[in-house]
């Protein structure tokens, strides 16, 4: 129904109605990717830059074109501000977009971001005219610093990329949400639908998922599941949830309760 049309949000002035950004990594086949894109309802998908591979099967670019989605290049695999900046510039040349999902990784095992390199890279890319969407930790101060240097969104992790652990520190996400007017996009950690719903309920504007969808047993069904979960979380947030109470609150009135008397039999079955 019209009155439940999901409210939109905007990144760098671009209005978006889908709150799911889909990472294209990990899909077994391009056909599955295409189906998942359609089920997810996403408007933006991420891609990476790699050397031309003559053996490559099919054209990712063609598939994404057919799906009519916008390509958001990332800088996956970069461990320094320097490499990330160069990679972003190449992505701009290749895809003709000045948007970049900025990743500067600090550790191979956890793929966690390197706060200092990330901040330097963000600063340089903003100066170079990029719309910078940084993949960052859940550190609220780093988030503010990224905002200060001119990033277009904050993309904090819930837990490590592909870990499926969900949101390890909801408190920090809440702080990030409170302090910024930028869009907050949960990036990394989502394992299943409830994680995505929770992220939105905590105040995130959108969720980026790759592995949770692409590596599910049925990626297309999971794409739809997470799309619905995000819609559910958004509706719930806007519907104004009940407060958490320490004790119960009856959902049935006491008034008018009947009173029965069975003198014949003890009030309780036990003790007998």
């Amino acid at each position: 129904m019209a009155d439940f049309a999901p409210s939109t949000f905007a990144i760098a002035g671009r209005e978006l109605s889908s709150r799911l950004i889909l990472g294209t990594g990990g899909f077994p086949r391009l056909g599955t990717l295409a189906d998942a894109i359609r089920e997810s309802g996403t408007e933006i998908v991420t891609v990476a830059l790699r050397r031309i591979d003559p053996q490559a099967q099919g054209s990712l670019t063609d598939v994404l074109d057919e799906c009519g989605v916008t390509v958001l290049p990332n800088t996956a695999g970069c461990y320094t501000a320097r490499d990330a900046v160069t990679t972003a510039q190449l992505a701009r040349a290749a895809f003709d977009t000045d948007w970049v999902k900025l990743e500067v990784i600090g550790d191979e095992r956890t793929l966690l971001p390197d706060a200092a390199e990330l901040l330097v890279a963000a600063e340089r890319l903003v100066a170079d005219g990029f719309v910078v969407l940084p993949y960052t930790t859940d550190d609220p101060v780093l988030a503010r610093r990224l905002e200060d240097v001119g990033c277009a969104a904050i993309m904090p992790l819930g837990s490590p990329i592909g870990s499926g652990m969900g949101i390890n520190n909801a408190y920090n996400l809440r702080l990030i949400r409170e302090q910024t007017k930028l869009p907050v996009i949960l990036d990394a950690g989502v394992g299943t639908a409830s994680d995505a719903a929770l992220a939105i309920e905590l105040g995130c504007d959108a969720v980026l998922c790759a592995s949770a969808i692409s590596r599910a047993e049925n990626p297309v069904a999971m794409a739809r599941a997470i799309r619905l979960a995000i819609e559910a979380g958004l509706l719930a947030r806007e519907a104004g949830r009940i407060p958490r109470r320490l004790y119960a609150e009856a959902s049935t009135q006491e008034a008018g309760l009947a009173e029965f008397h069975h003198p014949s039999d003890p009030q309780r079955a036990i003790p007998q």
Binding site: T24, G25, T46, L49, R51, I52, L90, A94
Partner: protein, 65 residues
């Protein structure tokens, strides 16, 4: 000799970026080139000459999170 996408290649230099792009059978869209870590805009590919010993990276889109 140049280093093309990480591999030493016996290519007669000078050679243009455009020629190298054809050499690696790059698709006609979604491709970017760096020579010695500097981006070479598509518009310059035909004229940009790669000299001996240069490191050339010719990249395109792959699936990524």
């Amino acid at each position: 000799m140049i280093v093309l996408n990480g591999t030493e290649s016996e290519v007669l230099t000078p050679v243009t970026v455009a020629e190298l792009v054809r050499l690696v059978e790059a698709p006609d869209r979604g491709v970017a080139v760096a020579v010695d870590s500097e981006v070479v805009p598509r518009g310059e590919w035909d004229l940009f000459e790669v000299s001996d010993g240069a490191r050339v990276e010719i990249l395109t889109a792959v699936q990524g999170g």
